[in-house]
């Protein structure tokens, strides 16, 4: 199983049935797997902030929503996470390809890569960064249970070495 199949399997294990996405090079195959799954509603979005709005509506409608995004998209989504998710207390599983981490080849990814944990901390969003496939298979479903119980978003940061 490669890293994409692992992430897909972990989403299924978590019971995720609604996914919004905006690509990162690392997410292409996960998006394809999600798109082919008849039991998951997949909505590609134009901006991550919009994606969080759509996931909130899906949660109100009874779904278990997740977003597939690059960590840069966190910067596009700060207000919706605070003034919708925190204010009303709503869960969402945030699966982020974390660029600008160890092994990054593009200097342009580094500033937002470095800022990402601090932005999550400022928003009081808990996050986990599984390093191995086994760990991802275990912690992603657990993270969704935690998110649903705590009624708060939860982040899964998948750094560059994870995708190798």
């Amino acid at each position: 199983m490669d890293s994409s199949e692992t992430v897909y399997k972990a989403l299924k294990g978590a019971g995720i049935d609604f996914v919004v996405s905006l690509p990162c090079v690392n997410l292409g195959k996960v998006m394809e797997l999600v798109d082919c799954d008849k039991d998951i509603i997949h909505v590609p979005v134009t901006r991550e902030e919009e994606g969080f709005g759509i996931c909130a509506g899906a949660f109100l409608g009874g779904k278990n929503p997740a977003i597939l995004m690059q960590n840069s998209g966190l910067g596009n989504s700060v207000n919706v996470l605070a003034s919708l998710y925190e204010l009303y207390r709503m869960p969402v599983l945030m699966v982020m390809s974390h660029r600008g981490t160890e092994g990054e080849f593009m200097g342009a990814q580094i500033p937002m890569g470095k800022a990402t944990p601090g932005v999550l901390d400022a928003l009081n969003i808990a996050y986990i960064n599984p390093k191995t496939h086994e760990e991802a298979l275990k912690v992603i479903p657990e993270a969704w249970i935690l998110s649903k119980t705590a009624l708060a978003p939860i982040g899964i940061l998948l750094e560059i070495p994870f995708w190798k």
Binding site: P44, T46, G57, L60
Partner: protein
């Protein structure tokens, strides 16, 4: 230019809300939510208290997740802030989705500063995105026709600037959410 006979936003909200029964409503931040709460409260209403721009997107996620019809009460400034979602709504093609934009050509809730809808026509934008069923209302509202149209529907509701003198919503955000979710569950 705005026609002198167009309605106040609260009047338009009242007329539309009165023609709804079982439909789920996502209502925009600021005075639109306060005015809706004042003219008619219902467990079918989700009042936004933050996240400007997100009403249309929340409505889309809701429409894709369950069968009941979803009516979004949005504003021109908010649609301009999250215009990309019009493309997503059109492409996802939800039949049970109605987007009503109360266009007062201003950021009404913050003191009626002009928006660019004084220059651009949101109805033309929706049509060029591809929306097939669109309506423009000025002096009168025929909402029955809107409800009978296949979604996604775009309604350009032209209203006067200004806010009604109505109180803030005396419900906690979580209370708004929980009541709404109970209602969705009651009859999915």
């Amino acid at each position: 230019m705005l026609n002198g006979d167009i309605m106040e936003r609260i009047e338009a909200i009242k007329k539309i809300a009165e023609s709804l029964n079982d439909e789920l409503v996502i209502c925009n931040i600021g005075f639109p939510s306060r005015e809706l709460y004042y003219v008619k409260d219902s467990p079918t209403h989700f009042y936004m208290l933050g996240s400007m721009g997100m009403a249309s997107s929340i409505g889309l996620g809701l429409a894709l997740s369950q069968k009941r019809k979803v009516v979004v009460f949005d504003g021109d400034g908010s649609v301009l802030m999250n215009m990309g979602t019009l493309v997503t709504i059109f492409s996802q093609n939800p039949e049970n989705y109605i987007l009503v934009v109360f266009d007062n050509q201003c950021y009404g809730s913050t003191g009626s500063q002009c928006t660019y809808t004084t220059e651009v026509d949101l109805h033309q934008i929706a049509k060029s995105v591809g929306f097939k069923n669109t309506f423009v209302f000025e002096e009168e509202i025929k909402f029955k026709e809107v409800l009978e149209s296949k979604g996604p529907v775009f309604v350009h509701m032209k209203v006067k600037p200004g806010n009604a003198d109505v109180p803030v919503i005396d419900m906690e955000p979580e209370e708004i959410k929980e009541r709404f979710m109970e209602e969705v569950k009651r009859n999915p």
